[in-house]
Symmetry: C2
Subunit: 253 residues, 2 copies
């Protein structure tokens, strides 16, 4: 049974892409078949897995524009069980182009329908906003994984994200649940980190993953080599944390 997880938080720079790429790679290392869907026009997840600059009109934007089928755009990565549905900058036009399209919120859900059974997990990396692209991800998803940077602004934006999730559950995707809240860039030496975690545990209780992702420079370095952390430095604290998270998610079922 395929599980579709949207990785979303409108606050910028909280570790959405880093989580999508490295959780995806860690799940595929456990021989789960994984599709990573990049619907951020910044296309950071796409560039984190290799040099795909010359996609020549073959990205998720072309799928949305009905120019090509989803299956013909999916590319293999260095990890056997990890495939990528790439994005590119032209996707930024979608916000305006879809404004008056009927049932524009269901586009991604419809496109994934045919191929989804080939995968155990589909992870969707969202842009830092709650506009139409993120709405598409939340409508297509079974659950939402919320990366929460252990810093002040992180808690501030949660109310708005939860409102949006409620709206989507009410109108567009009644089965959507919160998969979990992931503490990212955690530094146990800082009071700030501990305070944010306390707040998150008060708010979300057992929805907070037991695995915290530590601040680890190897996680920031690996995208420049076009590799997920487990191929770049398997012994780093970042790689170990994402492997532990993958086990926790598989166990949660």
């Amino acid at each position: 049974m395929t599980k579709i997880i949207a990785i979303a938080n409108q606050k910028g720079g909280v570790g959405k892409t880093t989580t999508a790429v490295n959780l995806g790679a860690a799940l595929s290392a456990a021989e789960k078949r994984v599709l990573l869907v990049d619907i951020d026009p910044q296309a950071n997840a796409t560039s984190s897995l290799g040099d795909f600059q010359n996609l020549l009109g073959k990205s998720i934007y072309d799928v949305f524009a009905e120019r090509i089928n989803l299956e013909d755009v999916i590319i293999k990565t260095e990890m056997d069980f990890l495939s990528l549905l790439p994005s590119d900058i032209s996707l930024a036009a979608v916000d305006v182009e879809l404004v008056d399209k009927v049932s524009r919120e269901f586009l991604l859900k419809e496109k994934l329908e045919k191929s989804k059974k080939e995968y155990d997990y589909i992870l969707i990396d969202c842009p830092p906003s709650l506009q139409i692209l993120t709405v598409n991800a939340l409508v297509a998803a079974d659950s939402v994984l919320i990366p929460l940077q252990s810093e002040y602004y992180a808690i501030e934006g949660l109310g708005k994200l939860l409102n949006t999730i409620n709206l989507i559950q009410h109108d567009l995707n009644p089965d959507l649940i919160i998969e979990g809240v992931l503490i990212t860039m955690y530094d146990q030496r800082l009071n700030l980190s501990k305070q944010v975690v306390e707040e998150a545990l008060k708010y979300f209780k057992d929805k907070v993953y037991k695995t915290y992702i530590p601040r680890n420079v190897k996680l920031a370095e690996s995208p420049s080599f076009g590799k997920p952390i487990i191929l770049y430095d398997i012994n780093s604290s970042g790689a170990r944390a994402y492997m532990k998270l993958a086990k926790e998610i598989i166990k949660n079922g």
Copy 2:
């Protein structure tokens, strides 16, 4: 002569808000009259300067909706020469509401026209996107300050930002220039930081500010106390860096 500076970069979490708030405070400490305009629906700049939760319908959204004048929404902060034009979450509706309004890109420019001569500097904190709110800031501004986090994805997104700036210069604001590129979260122990700085200097040459903002936890802590860094911890490396940046910007003229 008032100088309007948009602080923009669509990459999330690069230090836009931290720069808008702390550069604003440092300029006001040098007795420059500063207006900080928050046009991010996340309203992080607004909450960084105090507890303004009960704005009761008095934010930039109400100014855009023609319900109230700009002058009646501006609030004083703890710093004598620093005023704030606050944002709130309802601003997120503007993207959709403005879609078919004529000359929707000029809204902020028009609203600032009457009051701008009361200030030496107007700083505009932008959301992590290149949609209508950021376009409004780039049209209203004389120049753009680009915070560049010293990490891998930072360089990737620059091309798209420069394209957007070119489009704005060509069609909507011919006088718009790049004020400067600010290296943020710089850690001199990391190769990654040094590599990104080398790239930035190659690309932007003397447009890169000589002042680098170091990674300093005090900068991440101060918003939770509703204070800019110079009121929270004047001796921190973060406070010293933003005061040095203010001097550099005043000197550049």
